[in-house]
C-alpha cells in the first residue's frame, strides 16, 4: 500500500482575521504549526487555535469532508479546509511559501473565517422550493422508480451545502440575485427525481426568473470548487436541457434553439456556417425574430467583414460540406437508444482506466490547484454529454 507518511514539518499559515467588535478592518495573522504534510489545513488551523490563539474563528465539525462546515479559501481557491492537504496548500502558495486562508467570497463575513451563509446561501436554497412534491395520495409502499434515476439524483444529493461553489460563482458576483450553483443543483435533485410531480412548474419558474438558470455563464468555477463532485454547472445544464427538450419551455437566452441550430448546421456543413446558424437559431430565415436579430447584429457583422474575419462569399455561400466522418459521428450518437445523461455515480471510474491515471498511487491532494482532487474527476465531461 502507498506509504504516505512523512515526518512532520513546519508550515506557516497566514489567516485572514476580522473582529467585528474591534472597529478595526480585517488583518492578516501568522502562525507556524507543525504537522505531517498529509494533514489538512483545518488540522493546521486547529493546532494554531489550540496551542496559540483560541480566538481564531472557524466553523468545523467532522474533519472528513462530510459536514460541510469549514468552507474557506486557501491560497485564493475555495474549498473545505479539512479536504485541503498542507502539502498541496504549500505547493499552491506564493513565493514566500506561506499558506493563506481567507473566508469564502460572495457572503458577508461574521468573524475571521466565518461567513453569513443564511444571508446568501440558505436564502437561495429556500428559493427553489427545496422539498419533494410527491403525488397525492402516496403509494402504500415505496414509489417504484428506475434504479438509475435514483442513482442519478444521488449526485446532487451528495451536496453538503458547504458554499464553496457559491463563494466563487462569477455570475453571482455580477448579479447577487442569481439563484446560484448550489440552489440550482438542489433544484435538479427534484427535477431529476421521478417522484416529483411538479417538474414542469419548477423548470418554468427557474426559466422565467431573470436571475434563474439562464444566468449561468458556464465558467466552470463551481465544478472546480465543489469538494464532493456534485458539479453544479452540469446540473444547471441538465435543468436547461430538460426545460427546452422535455418541456418546451422558452429559453430566455434562446440557448436551446441555438444549440439545436448548431447541431443541424454541423451535420449539414461539417464546418460552421455562420449565416445559417443565426437564422436557424431563431426559427429559420423567414422568421421575423431572425430578421430582428440579424438587424441587431449588423454592426458586428460589418466590423467582422471590415477586419477580414469573414468574407461575404464564405459567409453567404459556405462551400464546405460535411464529409462521411462527420456523418458517422452523428449516426453513432443518434443511434443510441437512450439519452446519454449519466453521472459518475453510475459510470464509475472504469473508463478512466485506459489512461492509467487511476493506477498511480495518489499523492494525497497533490492537485495543482491546492485542493485535494475533487471527488468525481471527469464529472464535467461525462455529466454534460
Amino acid at each position: 500500500m502507498a506509504d504516505t507518511r512523512k515526518p512532520s514539518q513546519d508550515f506557516t499559515l497566514r489567516i485572514r482575521r476580522y473582529d467585528p467588535e474591534s472597529g478595526q478592518p480585517p488583518f492578516w495573522d501568522e502562525h507556524t504549526i507543525n504537522l505531517e504534510p498529509h494533514r489538512s489545513v483545518l488540522e493546521g488551523i486547529l493546532q494554531a487555535k489550540g496551542k496559540y490563539d483560541g480566538s481564531i474563528g472557524i466553523r468545523c465539525s467532522c474533519k472528513a469532508a462530510i459536514c460541510g462546515s469549514c468552507g474557506v479559501r486557501v491560497n485564493g481557491k475555495p474549498g473545505l479546509a479539512c479536504h485541503t492537504h498542507l502539502s498541496a496548500a504549500l505547493k499552491s502558495s506564493g513565493e514566500d511559501g506561506v499558506i493563506e486562508v481567507e473566508p469564502m467570497g460572495n457572503m458577508p463575513i461574521i468573524k475571521d473565517l466565518i461567513v453569513d451563509m443564511d444571508a446568501v446561501h440558505w436564502k437561495k436554497i429556500q428559493r427553489v422550493t427545496p422539498w419533494l412534491l410527491a403525488q397525492d395520495p402516496l403509494p402504500e409502499r415505496e414509489h417504484i422508480v428506475d434504479r438509475e434515476a435514483m442513482v442519478d439524483v444521488t449526485q446532487s444529493m451528495a451536496c453538503i451545502q458547504c458554499g464553496a461553489c457559491v463563494s466563487d460563482c462569477l455570475s453571482m458576483e455580477v448579479d447577487p440575485l442569481f439563484i446560484g450553483p448550489a440552489a440550482l443543483a438542489k433544484a435538479y435533485r427534484f427535477v431529476g427525481d421521478p417522484r416529483d410531480v411538479q417538474q414542469f412548474e419548477r423548470l418554468k419558474d427557474l426559466a422565467e426568473d431573470p436571475h434563474g438558470m439562464y444566468d449561468c455563464t458556464h465558467c466552470f468555477k463551481c465544478i472546480e470548487a465543489c469538494p464532493k463532485g456534485v458539479a453544479p454547472m452540469n446540473q444547471i445544464m441538465r435543468l436547461r436541457r430538460r426545460a427546452g427538450g422535455d418541456h418546451h419551455i422558452n429559453d430566455r437566452n434562446n440557448g436551446y434553439n441555438h444549440e439545436h441550430a448548431f447541431v443541424k448546421n454541423i451535420r449539414k456543413n461539417g464546418l460552421l456556417h455562420e449565416n445559417d446558424l443565426l437564422a436557424d437559431s431563431f426559427g429559420g430565415k423567414f422568421n421575423p425574430a431572425a430578421g430582428l436579430f440579424l438587424a441587431k447584429s449588423l454592426p458586428v457583422i460589418t466590423r467582422a467583414l471590415i477586419r477580414g474575419k469573414a468574407t461575404l462569399k464564405v459567409a453567404l455561400l459556405h462551400p464546405h460540406k460535411a464529409d462521411d466522418h462527420v456523418k458517422r459521428i452523428f449516426d453513432t450518437v443518434e443511434g443510441r437508444e437512450e439519452r446519454v445523461d449519466l453521472n459518475l455515480y453510475i459510470t464509475g471510474y472504469d473508463e478512466d482506466d485506459k489512461n492509467g491515471a487511476a493506477n498511480e498511487p495518489v499523492v494525497v491532494g497533490a492537485g495543482d490547484d491546492g485542493q485535494a482532487s475533487p471527488s468525481a474527476p471527469g464529472a464535467n465531461a461525462k455529466g454534460a454529454s
Partner: protein, 564 residues
Amino acid sequence: MPSHDVLIIGAGLAGQRAAVAAADAGVSVAILSKVHPVRSHSVAAAGGINAAVSVTDDWRSHAYDTVKGADFLGDQDAIEVMCSEAPAEVMHLEHIGVTFHRNDSGELDLRAFGGASVKRTAYVADITGQAILHVLYEQLMKYHETVDRYEEWFTTSLIIDEEGACVGCVARNIRTGSMETFTAKNVILASGGAGQCFKPTTNALICTADGIAQAYDVGAPLMDMEMIQYHPTTLVENGFLITEGARGEGAHLLNSDGDRFMEKYAPNKMELASRDVVSRAEQTEINEGRGVGEDKSGIYLDITVVPKKRVHEALREIVNIGKDFAGVDITKEPILIRPGQHYIMGGVKTDINGATPIDGLYAAGEVACVSVHGGNRLGANSLLDTLIFGRRAGEHAAQRAKGMAMPEVGEAQARQDEQKIAEIIARPREGRRISEIKDELGTVMNQYVAVYREEDGLQKAHEVVRRLKEEAKTAYVDDRGTVFNQDVLGAIELGYMLDAAECTVVGAIERKESRGAQYRVDFPDRNDEDFMQHINTTKNGGDAPTITYTPVTVTQWQPEVRKY
C-alpha cells in the same frame, strides 16, 4: 422570551424528526442547535438503515438480531417497538424524498450488514445519513411557518421548576453572544453522543456529550454509560470511519499472514459478526503480533474483492476517503484500519416514548438510552433509533403539552449562566489550556476504557478524569469577545465531556463481567446472574456518581450463548 409547547435541543436526525412529528401534532415547536442542522453528526452515518421491509423478512427476526447484538442487555419491549415500526418509518422517509437505492424492479434495494441474519439495510450509496438528514432539513424548510429554528444557539443549562419538571433551557446565541431563556412545556434532548471524550474517535468535534451532561446535571440518571462501541474499521491514519457497508458488500479482513482471521472468531458470520466481536478479534490479532503496517498496529481491509463498478456506485465516499485521507485506491489495494471509538450505547435513561424520569424532559437518539442497543449496537440501527424514538418523543411531548399551561420562567438562571461565562472569560492565564486537557482526556480514555479493559487501568482512568475535572476549573481561554466566541463554548463542552467520561469509567468499573462492548480481562465471562442489569449513574454532588441498577426488560428472548 421565546416559549413553545415543545423545544428540541439538537437538530440531527432525532431532533429534526421530533420537530416534524410535534408540528404534525399541531403544537408550537422550536428546534435549537449549536450548529446548523445539516452539520449535525448524523450526516456521517454512512451504511444505511435497518428495517424488515422485504416481504420475506419479519420484524421479529430484526428484533432478535438486535437483542443478540446487544448481548441481551437491550430492553426487549423497546427493541420490539423499534423493529416493528421500522418498515413504516423507512417508507415515510422514501415518501418525503430520500433517494434510496433501488433494485432492478425499482423497489428499495437492501444490503447485508453486521449481525443481521438477512439483508435488511436500506441505503443511499454510502451517504445514507447525509441523504436522510438533508431530506429532513428539506422538511424543516417546508415547515418554516410551524417550526421555529434557532440555528447556532448553544444550550448552557436546562431549567427545572419547583416541582422538579423541566420547563425550558438557557441558551447563548453564538453569533451575538446574548443569553436567552427558552420557556417550554416540554424539552426534548437530541444533542448526540460523547465521542470527543476519546481520541481518536470517528465522531465529529461537536460530539461533546452536551445533552448527556445537561441531563445529568439536573438529576436525570444516565444508563449503560460503560457501553462504548469501537467500530472495527477506522483508518489507522486519522481515525476516520470506513463504513461497515464495505464488509456488507463483501470486503475481507486480513492479518499479517494474509489470513481471513474472522474464521477463528466467528466462523458463520465472518466479517459480518457484530461490531464488538469483530473489533475484539482485530485487537487480539494486533496484540498477538499479527497486525500489519507501521508498528503492526493495524489490520488490512481488502475491498478489492468487491466488483469495481459496485464499489464506485455504492461505496463512493470511502473511495474518496481512501484517496484523499490515506493515499490508497481501495479498488486496487487493501487499506489499513483498526478498531476506533465510534458510538456510545448508553445515555440519558428513557422509556419507549423518550421520556426521562424528569417530567417534561425527553431524550432521543445517541444522547438517550432507551435501551435498544444494550451492550452493543448493530450497524444501521442507529439511524433507525434516532428516527423512531425522535418521532415518538415528538408525538408524546406534543400530547403532553396539549393539556398544560405555559410555565412561568424567570430570567434568574440566564443571568447566572451569563455570569459563569463571564467568569470563564475572565480567568487569568495561569491554568492549563482547554485543548491540552481535552487531549489528555481523550488519550487516557482510549488507553484504558477501550476494547479490552481491566480494573487497574479503569482506576487509573478515573483518577485522571477527576484530576482533569479540577484542572478544568481554572483552564483559561484566549477569546474575550462575544461574537462567535468558540473558545468559551469549548470550555463549557470540556466540562460536559468530563462528566460523561466519569460516568463511563465508573460504570465500567462497576460492571465486573464481559458483555457486549465491555470486555474485562479480569472478568472474561458474561455473568447473567449479577449483571443482566442496566447500571445507572446519577449526580449526587459528591465525589463520584451514585450507582443504581435497573433490570433488563425481557419479553420473548431469554439469554443464550452468543455466537456468530
